[in-house]
């Protein structure tokens, strides 16, 4: 079954074309990676899919529903959740609050029912708490649940972002460089973790990643962007042996 599809999405910023005619096709349950050198337009693809930017042209479909041009909160409610390349937690708030907030979009009580604490609201609040604590436990942050999120070390902040994204009940999860800043051990754990949550939460995963170890290890398929243009698409093996990719991407990282 088709989960996420884009048709020739293009994003222009003034004279710069950040992404050109990007066409994507992800089936349910797949783990698909998007790679490419710095500034290739990967995050811009995420921003178009999640509604942060409206594509200059092209269309985006979630389970065959046209979602082009919707607001980010709408798109999240349709079932697309994301994490950010430069971690964007609610810094002053606790780990628990961060995850609780991501439950808010599904709340049924209105604000008056919430203020007077109707039983209906209390039940929803309790359910949100239980679900959030469960998620926090799942990502291994139970011991720091009441800590301010900005006080966590980097790796834990990344996991908190994933827990928060999961709290929105997504059917597809977009991860923007989840392994950035992690040490090899953490990176390895993360790879396993992503596979596990895919199965546990019945997810489809679309991720941007620089660590080849992660990408080659878990991706079913890979898209490669260079200067906003899709230069290759295929399974890890095909990508590794694609001369265009080696030149544009792997070549660059060897130099670095």
């Amino acid at each position: 079954m088709n989960m996420l599809r884009t048709e020739n999405i293009t994003m222009k910023f003034g004279g710069v074309t950040a992404v050109k005619d990007f066409s994507l096709n992800i089936d349910k349950g797949e783990i698909v990676a998007l790679i490419g050198p710095n500034g290739a337009g990967k995050t811009t693809v995420f921003n178009m899919i999640t509604g942060v930017y409206k594509p200059t042209s092209g269309k985006i479909f979630l389970k065959d529903k046209d979602i082009t041009g919707y607001r980010p909160d709408k798109i999240t409610s349709f079932g697309i959740a994301r994490t950010f390349q430069n971690i964007r937690l609610f810094k002053e708030l606790s780990v628990l609050d961060n995850v609780l907030i991501a439950n808010h979009l599904r709340i049924k009580s209105n604000f008056i029912e919430a203020i007077v604490r109707l039983p209906k609201y209390n039940r929803e609040e309790r359910e949100m708490h239980e679900k959030s604590i469960e998620l926090i436990k799942r990502v291994g942050l139970l011991d720091v649940i009441h800590e301010k999120s900005s006080s966590l070390p980097y790796g834990k902040q990344r996991r908190l972002e994933i827990a928060r994204a999961l709290a929105t009940n997504p059917s597809i999860l977009l991860l923007d460089e989840p392994a950035a800043g992690m040490n090899p051990k953490e990176t390895e754990d993360l790879t396993e973790f992503i596979k596990e949550i895919r199965d546990e939460f019945d997810l489809t995963i679309f991720m941007i990643e620089h660590h080849m170890q992660v990408v080659m290890g878990i991706s079913d398929r890979i898209y490669v962007l260079d200067y906003g243009v899709t230069i290759a698409e295929g399974n890890p093996n095909e990508i590794q042996n694609n001369p265009k990719v080696i030149e544009a991407y792997l070549g660059v990282s060897e130099d670095a």
Partner: protein
């Protein structure tokens, strides 16, 4: 959840205690002192409502004086007796049906709050799409526009002459009663899922929106609720002082409230309450700065406005050196007090750094 039960019981006891104290205050305090206490309660309401918008939701709004004006005029016009209305509107008669109706205080206050909220809802649509400084300028402009409108609607507001002889309905029970209700509503709101959504918007709009929070809906909600309580605060103020005119609702008034929340801590309910009392009382205590001081052999000429210079310097100091104000975004809760009193080490529910 035994603790929750205790908290509720303890809060009820505190509130009863407060009203017993007020009862005696009303008996023994002179007019001047009870007026200052009234002002403390009213500024608490105003501070809490502005803090909801600015401190908790992170919207830099400077429109409070405008909302207060709407509430104050509504309440005054509805509660003034008919002969007083006729005396006031000698230039041009008050439009009907306002010239013939007199409402009790409570419904007048509530309608004042609702009208302020309604106007906030209307201007929120265009204004809340702006961010930061632009929002501040737009709300400030709105507040001034309200003032100019009220100066020019002779048959509704009596223009620049203002309204005099407003019944002095506001007393300690009214002002503290409503302050307590406002406090409870704010605590319940801030600690609900909606309150968390407000804080999420304050922390990071982009992240909040990507976590499914409808930014506009929640901003306008906070803005409207804040305006509602500002309107009620305005109504209480008008019926405390007994006379209002458009000049009373200059930016200066918003500035005072801003001072309260900045000093108390943006995003702290307890901080706002404490600071509302401190600022209101010291504003009165420092009144001598504006007036002449007679030292017997010679008089120091007072400089009108010197008091505000002191407060402005204070505001600058707070912003420069104590960014977080008295409380930052922390709270003094009953749990913390209980822990302090029993000298137990702080447990999970206590202060967390």
């Amino acid at each position: 959840m035994k603790r929750k039960k205790y908290n509720i019981i303890f809060s009820v006891i505190l509130i009863i205690l407060l009203f017993v104290i007020l009862y005696f205050a009303k008996l023994y305090l002179d007019d001047y002192k009870s007026r200052i206490l009234n002002l403390c309660a009213i500024y608490t309401i105003l501070g809490l409502s502005l803090n909801l918008i600015n401190g908790f939701t992170g919207l830099f709004s400077l429109g409070h004086a405008g909302f207060m004006a709407i509430g104050a005029y509504t309440t005054a016009l509805l509660t003034m007796p008919i002969p007083i209305k006729e005396q006031n509107f000698f230039m041009a008669p008050l439009i009907s049906p306002l010239d013939k109706i007199v409402w009790p205080f409570l419904p007048s206050l509530i309608l004042g709050g609702i009208l302020a909220a309604f106007v906030a809802f209307l201007i929120g649509a265009p204004v809340l799409r702006l961010k930061g400084d632009y929002l501040a300028i737009a709300t400030l402009g709105f507040s001034e526009i309200i003032r100019v409108i009220f100066t020019n609607t002779q048959r509704l507001t009596n223009g620049a002459l203002g309204l005099k002889g407003i019944p002095n309905t506001t007393n300690l029970f009214w002002s503290f009663g409503i302050a307590v209700i406002t406090l409870i509503v704010m605590i319940l709101l801030i600690n609900s899922s909606y309150g968390r959504a407000f804080k999420a918007i304050r922390e990071d709009e982009i992240a909040a929106e990507n976590m499914g929070i409808n930014l506009f809906k929640h901003k306008i909600l906070a803005f409207t609720i804040g305006a509602f309580f500002a309107g009620i605060g305005g109504g209480l103020l008008g019926n405390l002082i007994g006379a209002i005119d458009p000049l009373m609702f200059r930016f200066f008034l918003t500035y005072n409230i801003l001072l309260i929340i900045v000093l108390g801590g943006m995003g702290s309910i307890t901080g706002t309450v404490i600071s509302a009392f401190i600022i209101t009382i010291s504003m009165e205590a420092l009144r001598f700065l504006d007036e002449s001081i007679n030292l017997g052999f010679f008089t120091i000429r007072g400089i009108p406005g010197l008091r505000m210079v002191v407060f402005s310097v204070l505001l600058m100091m707070v912003i420069l050196f104590f960014r977080n104000g008295l409380m930052g975004n922390k709270e003094i809760t009953l749990d913390i007090l209980a822990n302090k009193l029993s000298k137990k080490p702080l447990t999970k529910g206590g202060v967390k750094r």
